[in-house]
C-alpha cells in the first residue's frame, strides 16, 4: 500500500486492463467544465450535453434536474419533507443555503432558457425548483441527437443532505443540470413514451440515462480531488489547477474536493483477493465452473480519500472494498469498471456520508471505533460494503429509485447482510464477544417495527420517514432473505444471479425481479411477494398449547359404576399430581397447538422434545390458522417449538415460538440474567466509592 499525493494518484490506472464494459444504450454525453471557489462556496459551470431521443416519439420539451435548488430555501419539497433534518444531520439555515441557476441553454444557437419554467410533477409544490422544463423551438425527432450548450451558476449548500460543504470539504453529488429520463414505450413496462423526471425528495434522487462523461474541474492547487472518472489531464495556472476526468457508461458523475485528504491506493487483484472457499461455494451453488465465474474479473484500482484523523481505518476500508468486489463478482457479475473511489467525509460532515454514486461513493468513519472496546464495531466496513454494492443495484441495474426505492436499498440491504455477516460474523461486538449480526439488526426493524405501508410505493409517499426506511431497507432485505430460505440455496442464487445478469445495464422494475423469484415455481413465494410488496402482510408463529399427562388408560366410573384409577372417597386427600406423575412410567399423552397469526402463509417445522431427549418432528404447511398435534410417547413432553431452525425470518415474535411443559427441568436463563444484571448494578454502585 502506498500513500501518495493526488498528482501521483493519477498514474495508478496505468498498467491496469481497460474495463471489459458491455455497452449500455447510451442516451447522454456530457462535457462539463466547472470551477469552484472554496472561499465563497460558489460554482460556475458550462456543459455541452448531447442528448439522443431514445423513443419513437418526437420530444417537444426537455426536462432537467436542478437538485441543488432543494437547498434554495425552506419551501422546497426536500426541505418540507425533511424539516431540515436528514441523515442525522441538520440544515444550516443561516448561511448554508445553496442553489443552481441555469443562466443559458442554447440549441442550434437559440436561447431556450427564457421560455423555461419550473414544474413539480410529484407534489405540485409551486416553490420547488428542482425540475426545470425547457420547451423547444422544434421537437427532437426519434433517434436525433440534440446538442445543448448550458451555462449555470451555483452556490454549494452546507452539507446535511448528501451534497455540500463543511469548511474545505466538498462533496459534489447531483451537482450539475442533469437531463431527466425520456422513457420510450416498453421501458420499465411503460405503455407510452414520456418523461420521468421527479423532484428532489428527502428520500430519493436516482434515475438517469447512461452516457459518457468528460468533466474538467478547476480548484485551488492545494485541493485533492477525487471523482467518478479517471484522471486524463492536469493543467495548473495562477494558483489553480484544472483536472479533467473521463468516465464511460455511467449514469451519474460525482466528485469530491478537500485539501486534507490522504489518498490511499491499492489494487484489487482477483488472483489474490478472492477467497478460494467463496469461489468453490459460488461455483457449486450457481452450477457454474470456477473458470466461468472468474472469467470476467480484472484488476480494479481502489482509491481511498481518507480524512487524516482516520488513518487507522485505511486497511479496514480497503479490505472491505476488496471483499465486496470479490463477493459481488462471484454471486452477481464482475465489476465492469477499472476503478472505484471511496470518499471519507469528516465526522462533522456525516450528512455527506454513506452515499452511493457510480464508481465513487462516500463511506462513514468514526475515530472512536478504532479504540477498545469499540474496535470491533464494523460500521465503517459495513458502510463501505453497502455503498459500493449500490453501484450494482442503483448503478449497473439502473432501477428507478424515486419510484421503487426498495430495488436500490432493499436488495442492497440483503446483499450487505450476507457480506458483512460472512466476513465479520457480527456488526457490533464488544468484549467478551457480545454482539449483534448485521442481519439481526435489519431483521429486528423489519419484524418488530410498526408497519404503515407496503414495500412498493414511491419514496415520497410513505406514511413517514420511518416507514420509508422500514419498507425500503429492512423489510425488503429480510423478505428477500425469506425467499432465499423458501427456495433453497441453488434455486434462489441461480434466480438472483439470473436477474442481475439479465438486467445489467438496463432498467429493471419490481416485476422484473419478481419474475426471477417466481420462476422456480414455489407458490409460497408468489403469495409472499403479493402480501409484502403489494400489501402489509406479516406472520407470527407461536405455540399456544404444550401439555403432557400420563396416559394411564381409563379413569372414572366404569359401566358397573366402579371407580377406576381414582379414589372417590371425598374424605381422603387428593393425591399430589406431580408426585404421581413423577413416578409414572408411561405412556404419556401430549397435546401441542401451533398457531399462525397474520396473513402470510408459509410452511413451518415443528419439533416436540421429550424428557428422554427424543425429538418428534412435523412439518405444517401453515395453510390454516392453527394445527393440533397429539402424541403418545413413553416419555413426557418437555418442550414444543415451531421453527427451531429460525428459518421464518419474518416471524414477528420469535419469543412465543416455544412452550415448555412443567416437566422441563433444565438450567434457568432467567437466573443467569439476574445474576449478570445484579453484578452489573453492583459494579455501577461500587464506582460511587471513587467519589464518595
Amino acid at each position: 500500500m502506498r500513500r501518495l499525493a493526488f498528482a501521483a494518484a493519477a498514474t495508478l490506472v496505468l498498467g491496469l486492463p481497460a474495463a471489459a464494459l458491455e455497452a449500455p444504450r447510451k442516451v447522454v454525453d456530457y462535457d462539463i467544465a466547472v470551477s469552484l471557489d472554496p472561499a465563497t462556496k460558489r460554482v460556475e459551470g458550462t456543459e455541452t450535453l448531447k442528448w439522443t431521443n431514445p423513443s419513437e416519439a418526437p420530444v417537444g420539451e426537455l426536462r432537467f434536474h436542478l437538485y441543488w435548488n432543494a437547498f434554495r430555501n425552506d419551501r422546497s419539497t426536500l426541505f418540507r419533507e425533511s424539516g431540515g433534518r436528514l441523515r442525522e444531520d441538520t440544515a444550516d439555515t443561516g448561511k448554508g443555503w445553496g442553489y443552481t441557476d441555469v443562466t443559458s441553454m442554447k440549441w442550434d444557437g437559440a436561447e431556450l432558457i427564457r421560455g423555461a419554467r419550473f414544474e413539480s410533477p410529484d407534489d405540485g409544490n409551486r416553490d420547488d425548483r428542482t425540475v426545470l422544463v425547457v420547451p423547444l423551438p422544434r421537437p427532437v425527432a426519434p433517434g436525433e441527437t440534440a446538442t445543448l450548450a448550458i451555462a449555470w451558476k451555483a452556490k454549494v449548500p452546507k452539507v446535511y443532505a448528501r451534497a455540500g460543504y463543511v469548511r474545505d470539504f466538498f462533496m459534489f453529488g447531483q451537482w450539475f443540470p442533469q437531463i431527466g429520463v425520456f422513457e420510450p414505450k416498453g421501458r420499465r413496462r411503460r405503455t407510452d413514451a414520456g418523461w420521468n423526471c421527479h423532484q428532489y425528495h428527502a428520500n430519493s434522487e436516482f434515475y438517469a440515462d447512461w452516457g459518457d462523461w468528460k468533466v474538467a474541474i478547476t480548484v485551488p492547487e492545494k485541493f485533492v480531488v477525487g471523482s467518478a472518472g479517471a484522471l486524463v489531464d492536469t493543467k495548473t495556472a495562477g494558483g489553480k489547477k484544472t483536472l479533467t476526468f473521463e468516465q464511460k457508461s455511467v449514469h451519474n458523475f460525482a466528485f469530491t474536493a478537500d485539501p486534507r485528504y490522504v489518498v490511499v491506493e491499492d489494487v484489487f487483484d482477483p488472483a489474490k483477493d478472492i477467497p478460494k472457499d467463496e469461489i468453490a461455494r459460488a461455483s457449486k451453488t450457481l452450477g457454474r465452473s470456477e473458470a466461468d465465474l472468474l472469467a470476467g474479473f480484472h484488476k480494479v484500482a481502489i482509491r481511498l480519500y481518507l480524512q487524516p484523523d482516520h488513518l487507522a481505518f485505511d486497511r479496514r476500508h480497503i479490505e472491505a472494498q476488496k471483499w465486496a468486489l470479490a463477493w459481488t463478482g462471484l454471486w452477481l457479475f464482475p465489476y465492469p469498471y477499472a476503478q472505484i473511489s471511496i470518499v471519507d467525509p469528516p465526522e462533522d460532515g456525516m450528512g455527506a456520508g454513506g452515499m452511493e454514486y457510480e464508481t465513487i461513493y462516500t463511506t462513514a468513519t468514526f475515530k472512536w471505533m478504532s479504540r477498545w472496546p469499540f474496535s470491533r464495531f464494523v460500521v465503517p466496513e459495513t458502510v463501505t460494503i453497502h455503498e459500493f454494492t449500490h453501484g450494482y443495484w442503483m448503478g449497473l441495474l439502473a432501477s428507478n429509485e424515486f419510484e421503487e426505492s426498495w430495488m436500490d436499498e432493499g436488495i442492497n440491504t440483503f446483499t450487505e447482510q450476507l457480506m458483512v455477516d460472512s466476513k465479520y460474523g457480527y456488526f457490533l461486538q464488544v468484549p467478551p464477544g457480545i454482539g449483534l449480526r448485521d442481519s439481526d439488526v435489519y431483521r429486528a426493524y423489519a419484524s418488530l417495527s410498526q408497519d404503515h405501508d407496503p414495500i412498493l410505493a414511491p419514496a415520497w409517499k410513505f406514511a413517514n420517514g420511518q416507514s420509508y426506511g422500514r419498507n425500503s431497507y429492512d423489510q425488503p432485505g429480510t423478505t428477500i432473505q425469506q425467499i432465499r430460505l423458501l427456495l433453497g440455496e441453488e434455486a434462489f442464487w441461480r434466480a438472483f444471479r439470473g436477474y442481475a445478469e439479465r438486467w445489467r445495464f438496463d432498467f429493471p422494475t419490481s416485476e422484473d425481479f419478481f419474475d426471477f423469484m417466481r420462476a422456480p415455481g414455489n407458490p409460497v413465494v408468489d403469495d409472499l411477494i403479493r402480501k409484502t410488496w403489494y400489501g402489509r402482510g406479516w406472520v407470527d408463529f407461536s405455540i399456544l398449547v404444550a401439555s403432557t399427562r400420563p396416559d394411564d388408560g381409563f379413569t372414572g366410573f366404569d359401566d358397573a359404576d366402579k371407580p377406576v384409577n381414582f379414589d372417590p372417597d371425598p374424605r381422603k386427600p387428593e393425591k399430589n399430581e406431580d408426585d404421581e406423575d413423577r413416578n409414572f412410567k408411561g405412556p404419556w399423552q401430549s397435546l401441542v397447538t401451533v398457531v399462525r397469526d397474520g396473513s402470510i402463509e408459509m410452511p413451518a417445522h415443528v419439533v416436540m422434545t421429550l424428557k428422554d431427549g427424543t425429538k418428534i418432528e412435523r412439518t405444517w404447511d401453515g395453510a390454516g390458522d392453527w394445527i393440533k398435534y397429539r402424541v403418545t410417547s413413553s416419555s413426557p413432553l418437555v418442550k414444543a417449538e415451531v421453527d427451531p431452525g429460525r428459518r421464518i425470518v419474518l416471524d414477528r415474535d420469535p419469543w412465543n415460538n416455544v412452550r415448555y411443559t412443567k416437566r422441563y427441568e433444565g438450567p434457568s436463563a432467567a437466573l443467569k440474567a439476574r445474576v449478570y444484571a445484579l453484578n452489573l448494578l453492583e459494579i455501577l454502585l461500587s464506582s460511587v466509592w471513587g467519589v464518595l
Partner: protein, 293 residues
C-alpha cells in the same frame, strides 16, 4: 510505617469494616434488583432459554429488548434509585468507618459503625453538600468554561485536530485534577469530623485545608494509588467473571458468590484507602501544645 503500608495492613485487619461496606453495596443492589426478577422471568418461557444458557444470542437479546422495553425502563429507573440509596449509605457509613479505624477496633464493629455514623451523619451530609457545591463550581470554572472557549475557538476546526483534541483532553485531565482536589478536601473534612477536630462541616473543611497545605501532591498520589488498586480489583474480578460463562444453575450461583468475593475485596481496598488517609493525616497533625490551644 508509610501511609500506604498502614492502609494495606488495615485493609487486611479490618475485614469486618469491609464487610459493613460490602453489605451496604449488596443490599442497595438487592433492594432495587428485585425488578430484575420480573423483567427476566420470560427468559425461561421463551424460545431463547437454552441458547442464552449456553452463551450469547444476539437475536434473542435484541428481540427481548424490543419486546420488554418498558420493563427495561423500570429496571433502569430502579438502578438509579439504587445508586441514590447507596450514595446516601456511604455518606452515612463513612463517619462510622472512620471512627472505627481511629479507635483501631477490629471487632465488634457493626454496632459501633452504625452508632458513630448516626452521630456524625448531619455534619457529614453538610460536608457532602459542600463537596457537591465546590465540585460543581470548580468544574464549571476550570473544565466547562475552558472547554467552551476552546469549542468556540475551534468551531471551524476539523474534528480531531489540535483545538478539539485539546478540549477533550483538557476536560479529562482538568476534570480529574479538580475531582481529586475537591474530593481530598472532602475526605479530610470527614476525617476531621471523625477525629472530633471540628463540630461542623465548615470547621472540618477549615481543618482539611490546613492539612493539605504544602502536602497536596502526596495526598493526591495516595488517592490515585488506591483508585488504581480499586480499578485493578474491579477489572480482575470482572474479567474472570466474564470468562466464567455458567451453563448450569449451580455454576451461575458460583459466579454470583465469586463476584461478591470481588466486591468484598473492593470494600477492603476502600477501608485501606481510609486507613492510609488517616495515617497520612496523622503524620501532618501539629504537635500538641504544652500550653493548650
Amino acid at each position: 510505617m508509610s501511609a500506604l503500608g498502614a492502609g494495606l495492613r488495615a485493609s487486611l485487619r479490618h475485614r469486618r469494616l469491609a464487610a459493613v461496606l460490602w453489605l451496604s453495596l449488596f443490599f442497595s443492589a438487592l433492594v432495587f434488583g428485585h425488578t430484575f426478577r420480573k423483567l427476566f422471568a420470560p427468559l425461561d418461557e421463551g424460545a431463547f432459554r437454552e441458547s442464552l444458557v449456553k452463551g450469547w444470542d444476539g437475536w434473542g437479546v435484541l428481540t427481548f429488548t424490543v419486546k420488554h422495553w418498558d420493563a427495561i425502563g423500570v429496571a433502569i429507573a430502579a438502578a438509579g434509585g439504587a445508586v441514590l440509596l447507596f450514595a446516601l449509605l456511604q455518606v452515612f457509613l463513612t463517619g462510622g468507618v472512620l471512627r472505627a479505624l481511629v479507635a483501631g477496633r477490629a471487632r465488634p464493629v457493626f454496632r459501633l459503625v452504625v452508632a458513630e455514623s448516626a452521630g456524625l451523619f448531619k455534619a457529614n451530609l453538610w460536608a457532602t453538600l459542600r463537596f457537591a457545591l465546590t465540585a460543581t463550581l470548580w468544574m464549571a470554572l476550570l473544565v466547562a468554561a475552558p472547554v467552551r472557549v476552546l469549542g468556540k475557538l475551534g468551531k471551524d476546526a476539523p474534528p480531531h485536530t489540535f483545538l478539539p483534541e485539546l478540549a477533550f483532553w483538557w476536560a479529562i485531565a482538568a476534570g480529574s485534577i479538580v475531582l481529586l482536589n475537591v474530593g481530598l478536601r472532602y475526605d479530610l473534612a470527614r476525617v476531621a469530623l471523625a477525629r472530633g477536630e471540628a463540630v461542623n462541616a465548615r470547621g472540618a473543611y477549615r481543618v482539611s485545608k490546613r492539612r493539605l497545605r504544602g502536602s497536596r501532591p502526596s495526598a493526591i498520589l495516595l488517592a490515585v494509588v488506591w483508585l488504581a488498586v480499586g480499578l485493578a480489583v474491579q477489572a480482575l474480578f470482572t474479567s474472570w467473571g466474564l470468562r466464567w460463562s455458567p451453563r448450569t444453575n449451580g455454576s451461575t450461583s458460583g459466579l454470583f458468590v465469586f463476584r461478591q468475593v470481588g466486591f468484598f475485596v473492593l470494600a477492603m481496598a476502600r477501608v485501606g484507602f481510609w486507613a492510609s488517609l488517616l495515617a497520612w493525616e496523622n503524620a501532618r497533625r501539629p504537635a500538641p501544645s504544652l500550653y493548650g490551644v
